[in-house]
Amino acid sequence: MGTEQGSYKVGDKVAVKRENPSGNPRTPKYIRGKSGVITDVHGVISNLRDHRGLYPPLYTVVFDVKEVFGGASPDKLRVDLHEDWLERATPS
């Protein structure tokens, strides 16, 4: 589990894990196993109204719509993901 600042920075290539590692369910199924690039680092967000305690640092990760869903869409999809769901993408 990362520090408050988190282990990744803008521009890092990351992959979304396939399995739920920590019981934090907040990652959509469609994005699991896909690779993207960090565009925003939000850090640990204290959100008393929505959940007890703190979740790991949060990131916005950008994906190509066509890589996630196929098709020909030229558009981009940004998904907010907590650090426990991410791992560094292996360079291809």
Binding site: R26, Y30, I45, N47, L48, D50, V65, G71, V79, H82
Partner: protein, 348 residues
């Protein structure tokens, strides 16, 4: 675990400290001084108003101690939100006749001379002690506001029936801050950059209750980028700020299609055709960052007043499922439950 909990509350308590101090020092006290200095009210009006108005507001004090810290922090945040709402209500009920410029000068900050620096309240001690002092101070600040309103009514500057009518309207209508926020962004680029970089704290100058669900993310639509938001896992949205989402936001058909082919769903469901060269960005959010979209300012609106501009902002446009409407469309599109125009999606 307990350590992370303390940390959790710390951020919330610090935010309340900053907000409360802001509203006291910049919104309310300067207004009272202006009213006194311009002769609208006298000090004795405030004493008389205090004597004649019931002290009902702090009747619930004292029973807070038995509750756990989390409930007390939540109650504190709710109290602050009510306070801010009352400030907005009072200001709008007076009709903007007495507006003040709040000084935020280098002199007051003590950049030139420590002697001139305004005193800021600090909250010290344990988290528990700070929550207790803050709870007392929110109640005190609300009392000041209540006395001020009473004095203005007794002086004939504020009409009680207008105040009550506005309060009732606010209760029934639910919040409609989206238009206000976007219109300010359109006319004030500094405010816009502050909102994008800071989120909720930037809203203080609009007398909008900061709200507390997650962090506010702000996405600006431009000539080259169109943002659209969704929460595929549930329906996260800054509802405390912007009101409830439109019904379709929670529908699976919207959630599924907007991530897989945003351009197509915008065209088919919302009759919004975007140029090929415009980049479409979909944001799938969690509850931790809740997004709103700043739609593009419609053409031909130069010189329009902020309150007129606010009417061009639709609920759909705050999500990116529509654009702000043209001035000629005001009143010609279907009304929403909040009394503001919203074009309907075409089918489903």
């Amino acid at each position: 675990m307990s350590d992370s909990h303390m940390h959790d509350f710390e951020a919330h308590v610090r935010a309340v400290e900053e907000d409360l101090e802001y509203y006291r020092a910049k919104r309310i006290e300067p207004r009272i001084f202006t009213l006194l200095r311009r002769g609208f009210i006298e000090f004795t009006d405030l004493f008389n108003a205090a004597a004649s108005s019931a002290k009902a507001a702090d009747s619930n004090q004292g029973n807070g101690q038995e509750k756990d810290l989390e409930s007390r922090v939540r109650a504190l945040e709710d109290g602050l939100d009510d306070y801010v709402r009352e400030i907005g209500l009072l200001t709008s009920s007076i009709g903007g006749a007495i507006d003040v410029v709040t000084e935020d000068s280098r002199v007051e900050r003590g950049d030139y001379n420590e002697f001139f620096r305004l005193t800021h309240r600090e909250y010290k001690g344990t988290l528990d002690e700070r929550v207790r002092s803050l709870t007392e101070d929110v109640a005190k600040n609300r009392r000041v506001l209540e006395v001020l309103a009473r004095a203005l009514i007794q002086r004939g500057i504020l009409r009680e029936d207008v105040l009550n009518k506005n309060r009732e309207a606010l209760r029934q209508a639910g919040p409609w801050h989206g238009g206000k926020i976007v219109a300010r962004c359109w006319v004030d680029p500094d405010f816009k950059s502050k909102l994008i970089s800071q989120g909720r704290p930037a809203l203080r100058e609009l007398d909008i209750p900061p709200g507390r669900v997650g962090k506010l993310g702000v996405l600006e639509n431009t000539e080259s980028v169109h943002n659209v938001i969704v929460c595929t896992l549930c329906s996260c949205y800054p509802y405390d700020l912007l009101g409830d989402t439109p019904w379709w936001y929670k529908q699976d058909i919207y959630k599924k299609r907007v991530v897989a082919d945003p351009r197509k769903i915008l065209e088919e469901m919302f009759e919004l055709k975007l140029p090929q060269k415009m980049e479409v960005r979909v944001y799938d959010s969690t509850s931790d960052v809740r997004y709103m979209v700043i739609p593009r300012r419609p053409k031909g609106t130069e010189g329009m007043k902020e309150e007129q501009l606010a009417k061009l902002v639709t609920i759909d446009s705050l999500i990116g499922a529509g654009e702000a409407i043209e001035p000629s469309q005001v009143g010609h599109v279907k009304e929403t439950q909040w009394g503001h125009p919203k074009p309907r999606p075409r089918d489903y």
